[in-house]
Symmetry: C2
Subunit: 271 residues, 2 copies
């Protein structure tokens, strides 16, 4: 469990002049906290969200850290990096992260249940009975059920996307239909309490969307400024709509096997 204590300490200083009911780290109303910020009457600087971020071998680490870059700014929230055991988990590109909760120790009632994507590791997690059971159980009660990239395949396989609009990495978005979802082409798709992001780097846009949803727009904008999220990619090839043909062709080819396996997963799920 990460209670973001360093950020809390920093942000308590911040919240002092602005919040109308800010609490200190022990949950007590702190002195000098009765000022109001006239322009932002709805800013809730402190919260108590319980956020579970699934980890599994072969996950794409940016799918996890992009959302965490934003969600990690939630003062008062607790973030659980949840895996089958507390053993370190290695991503598809070799980044090894230590979980701080297991399927057994993760709180039962979550504000946000989140899963990152990947390729072969994601398909393995999607068919793993323990992972499916965990996602289905926590997803049944979580206030928000969410994913980035091909993580939506895990949500789908756990039966959490039936009848919901959702998105995924561009290569497998269409596969979501096999899980009863309505594939939707957008950077972030919200349908009731399901919030899904597109591929990998969409986790930043997803994270900002969640901050506004969990707190408010000003809170989200503060985290956007702190993380200097003012993107300026030197090229314009980040989408199948804008990438040149000589970029699209090899990337589509590279993902052919993964797409086939994803389609097989959805077909097996239906059967």
């Amino acid at each position: 469990m990460t209670d973001i204590s360093r950020r809390q300490a920093l942000l308590l200083a911040l919240s002092a002049p602005f919040a109308s009911c800010a609490l200190d780290a022990d949950g007590q109303q702190a002195p000098g906290m009765n000022h109001k910020m006239p322009d932002t009457p709805n800013v809730h600087w402190m919260g108590d969200e319980q956020i579970a971020m699934l980890m599994y071998p072969g996950m794409t680490v940016m799918d996890l850290i992009g959302p965490h870059c934003m969600l990690g700014g939630l003062m008062g929230a607790k973030i659980f990096f949840v895996a089958k055991s507390l053993d370190p988990v290695t991503s598809d590109a070799g980044v090894t992260i230590t979980p701080n909760a297991t399927f057994g120790t993760c709180p039962r009632d979550l504000t946000v249940l989140f899963t990152p994507g990947g390729t072969d590791g994601t398909l393995a997690a999607a068919v793993d009975p323990d992972t499916r059971a965990f996602m289905a159980d926590r997803g049944a009660r979580a206030k928000y059920v969410t994913s980035v990239c091909s993580g939506s395949l895990i949500l789908g396989a756990a039966g959490l996307l039936k009848g919901y609009k959702a998105t995924s990495h561009w290569s497998v978005r269409h596969v979501l239909a096999g899980f009863g979802a309505i594939p939707t082409d957008a950077r972030v798709v919200q349908d009731r309490n399901r919030v899904t992001g597109a591929g990998v780097t969409a986790g930043l846009d997803f994270g900002l969307t969640m901050l506004a949803e969990l707190r408010d727009r000003t809170y989200a904008e503060c985290c956007q400024l702190m993380s200097e999220y003012d993107p300026d990619p030197p090229f314009n090839a980040g989408s199948m709509k804008t990438a040149p043909a000589e970029v699209k062709a090899p990337m589509v080819q590279m993902l052919t096997e993964f797409v086939k396996k994803s389609e097989a997963l959805a077909a097996a799920n239906k059967a």
Copy 2:
């Protein structure tokens, strides 16, 4: 050391029809690799870069993972997550990552030396004698000396930015002048072999810039499409030029102490 073997396996399938001299995982020319991709004569699918990414307690993990999201796509490259020891390193917001190299085992001659930023942890790393010695030594020979966010304070403290244009997180960009650098307001600043990114999420733009520098534009665009980097932030508050006043004021206040300490670091360095 991470040799991105999974990605290599995937990308070897990709490179087959396009590369003129692609090598397999053992460095042997693979069969069927003699086709040329007429539109991309300069794409070098395989390389042999040695990339060191510094890790230290209190680093901002997105500063590390954003660049890695792009650099991790370099087929044939080796990425070293370097720390003082092989003990797991915990970020400012509680993400724990395992290094795969130490100051002693990291290769002496690097293609890219990189450091992430943070706040108090960054200032501690910048004054740590072992870290400074490592950065100064590898930086003296590295083909590229690079950073994202306040990581440029570490480069500056190691004497690596004297006379170079450079950038940093918006809050401490001006501090770089104290290290003899020329603070420059841009998302990514390249001056000869120094490449520095602005705050946190600028690591993605930095990473793409490095991919084009190390390989070529098409290679970078392929990684951009694979990571679906087609940003669409729901708000426009990611820069001091665009954020509303009620967002700028609390964030400036929140960082006041960090800015003061950074200025003191630069002053001590000069003395």
